[in-house]
């Protein structure tokens, strides 16, 4: 008991971590926790008369009854998963090159090349894609000149266009955790596997991927969440056809001024991303804490 008293609460060494954490805790409470509580309350009430509300599940019922909403919801999830998988497939060779093949100078150069697009804002980058892909844009003109199409084709406003934009925007967030995971892989493990008779494919499957799994899952979680919550890229590249769930939320809040419905959609999206991330962790046999150390 005496020992406990000696190192009492007034010990400055004990107070320090709390003080250091205070800004982050305040930020979390004021900007994340409070708005979510507020939105949670909003989503669970219905307006019965001007300024009169009562608890209700009406918003969630609307979501189920209206096919447009849950179609958009499922579509957003599917395209996000597809975008995440595509990003992983494209980012893996890049990360491998940077982590294992490139030497010091080429390595930094390659990494900077991955980073450079992020020096301009997402809006400008997406507009860049529009200049390239629109009917009067660079790529359709090139296709006509090469004789591959008789007249300029509209390359914007397709699902594939949305996918391209999403993958492009997410690339860095996949490459960084992958580089971390691959750098920590001892080269002699690969050599040993090769020496014992392994070939490229079996080494990738049995040595590289198991080792890099936390990094792969970390990258996938980050990219999936960014994609699912992306508003700008699907709206600009997909146009009216994009049908992205964040657009529905925006419409409810800003155009329709139906905050209750918007809040309900927001929570549905949160639930969806949580569910898919947990499913992904379960399927890959990874633990959340371990994975997050990789990011």
């Amino acid at each position: 008991m005496r020992a406990k008293d000696a190192s009492g609460a007034r010990d400055p060494a004990r107070l320090l971590p709390i003080l250091l954490l205070a800004p982050a805790l305040l930020w979390l409470a004021a900007l994340i926790l409070l708005p979510h509580v507020e939105l949670g309350i909003l989503s669970l009430r219905a307006r019965v008369a001007p300024r009169v509300y009562e608890p209700s599940l009406a918003q969630f019922r609307t979501f189920i009854d209206e096919p447009l909403y849950w179609h958009t919801f499922v579509r957003t999830a599917v395209i996000s998963i597809l975008a995440t998988a595509t990003t992983l497939l494209l980012a893996f060779p890049i990360a491998w090159t940077i982590a294992k093949i490139a030497r010091s100078r080429a390595r930094s150069l390659l990494f900077v090349l991955c980073l450079i697009p992020f020096w301009v804002s997402e809006t400008v980058r997406t507009l860049g894609w529009m200049i390239l892909l629109r009917e009067s844009g660079v790529l359709p003109a090139l296709l006509v000149r090469l004789g591959m199409t008789p007249a300029p084709v509209e390359l914007l406003y397709h699902d594939a266009t949305i996918l391209v934009g999403l993958v492009y925007t997410s690339m860095l967030f996949m490459v960084v955790p992958l580089i971390g995971a691959l750098e920590s892989l001892d080269d002699s493990l690969i050599e040993a596997a090769y020496d014992l008779g392994g070939n490229g494919w079996s080494i990738l499957r049995q040595i590289v991927i198991p080792h890099a799994a936390p990094g792969i899952v970390a990258g996938c979680i980050v990219v999936f969440m960014l994609t699912l919550g992306n508003y700008l890229t699907p709206t600009l590249l997909g146009g009216k056809n994009s049908q992205w769930f964040t657009e529905q939320i925006y419409t409810q809040f800003i155009t329709r001024f139906n905050w209750e419905q918007g809040a309900a959609f927001g929570f549905l999206l949160l639930g969806l991303s949580t569910l898919i991330v947990l499913l992904g962790l379960k399927l890959s046999g990874q633990r959340f804490g371990e994975v997050m150390q990789q990011t």
């Binding site: 050599e191 040993a192 014992l196 049995q206």
Partner: protein, 380 residues
């Protein structure tokens, strides 16, 4: 330089034949026109300081590097263009490179599975192999549950289960602490004797090479200075580099003043005159370098025993005492020239009461000291 290790002249080709092998990195000759062969079932070590090219040589044999010139034959078959996963050679890596994502059993069975052997058969062979390396029933353990010594046994088992013609070992004891290293040395030698597989072992630790090997090649700057049994290297070094690198040695530089048969007398600049056995052709007036092993010299409080035996002897004063059990020695300097010597103390404990600053006599049999022409470090 060509040398063949082993005396057996069996009809079977040597397990490893290397002919005029060369590898450059830019202007640096990592492996320089090297030829040697290793007999079946022998333990062959390549001993050299870091940067001497021994790792490059091993990686060429394993197939991770391709040579610029020359040829490697394993079990009589040329290996040019054969990738590491197709060579009858396996390697034990410096840090063992066990697969942490697999169990011990999966590690040992990895190579067998890659060969497409049936699961039951793999299970049986892995079990047998783990039993042979005294790790029965360790199949389901995780790699990080093993001690350093057990990890080494798993690494060797993982290679030997594939029954390679040749097992290459890249300083596998380097990362262990001294006590465990001594223990593993013995274990490694017993494993090699039990399996009878040809081992090619590289190390910078001369004690590992001497204890383990049937034959040792001393490597320096991409070439072999000498190939021989550990005893040859120790008692009859052929080059000053070998004399200096293998075992402790006292070096004395000077000029040859007299030569009688294979006995050369040299005088150092500071005026020390000693005699030694000439290695190679020497002429009077040549710059020479003599080596006297610490245990070859004997120590006495008085000069009397040496005058009786007729051996040359020297007066000296003790600078420091290095007590290390059976390896105890004294550092002293010869009185006239001030030349420093390290001399082993008798293991009986006799003379253990010497003190710093005491005057003593020491002497050695010139036949047991060796003398080379100086400045031809790479002569072979």
């Amino acid at each position: 330089m060509t040398a063949t290790s082993g005396t057996a002249t069996s009809a079977a080709p040597p397990d490893l034949q290397v002919e005029r092998l060369g590898k450059r990195f830019g202007d640096f000759r990592a492996v320089d026109d090297l030829s040697f062969s290793v007999e079946r079932g022998s333990f062959f070590s390549i001993l050299g300081p870091s940067g001497c090219g021994k790792t490059t040589l091993l990686r060429i044999i394993a197939g991770f590097l391709s040579p610029d010139a020359g040829e490697v034959r394993i079990g009589g078959k040329p290996m040019q263009g054969v990738p590491p996963n197709k060579r009858p050679v396996n390697m034990v890596f410096q840090h063992l490179a066990l697969f942490p994502m697999m169990s011990v059993g999966e590690n040992v069975g990895y190579g067998l599975a890659r060969r497409g052997i049936a699961k039951d058969e793999i299970k049986r062979r892995v079990g047998d192999m783990l039993e042979r390396v005294s790790l029965p029933g360790a199949q389901d353990k995780r790699v990080d549950q093993l001690s350093g010594g057990q990890k080494q046994r798993v690494a060797i088992a993982r290679s030997l289960v594939l029954e390679p013609t040749l097992l290459l070992l890249d300083e596998p004891l380097g990362a262990l602490d001294l006590k465990l290293r001594d223990h593993m040395k013995i274990e490694l030698k017993q494993l090699q004797a039990a399996f009878g597989t040809t081992f090619v072992y590289i190390t910078h630790d001369q004690s590992e090479a001497l204890v383990l090997s049937d034959h040792v090649a001393v490597m320096n700057q991409g070439r072999f200075e000498q190939i021989g049994t550990p005893q040859d290297l120790y008692y009859a070094p052929q080059t000053p580099f070998v004399a200096g690198f293998v075992g402790a040695n006292n070096a004395v530089q000077g000029r040859a003043t007299q030569i009688h048969g294979d006995r050369v007398t040299l005088a150092s600049e500071k005026g020390l005159v000693i005699s030694a056995r000439a290695m190679g052709a020497l002429r009077v007036g040549d710059a020479v370098q003599a080596f006297v092993r610490p245990e070859v010299a004997s120590l006495s409080r008085s000069a009397a025993p040496f005058t009786d035996s007729g051996l040359p002897h020297y007066q000296a004063r003790i600078d420091s005492l290095l007590f290390d059990g059976a390896n105890s020695a004294v550092l002293l300097h010869e009185e006239n020239s001030g030349t420093g010597f390290r001399i082993a103390l008798p293991q009986t404990g006799h003379l253990s009461d010497l003190v710093v600053g005491e005057n003593v006599s020491f002497s050695f049999d010139p036949q047991l000291a060796v003398c080379f022409a100086a400045g031809n470090e790479h002569a072979s």
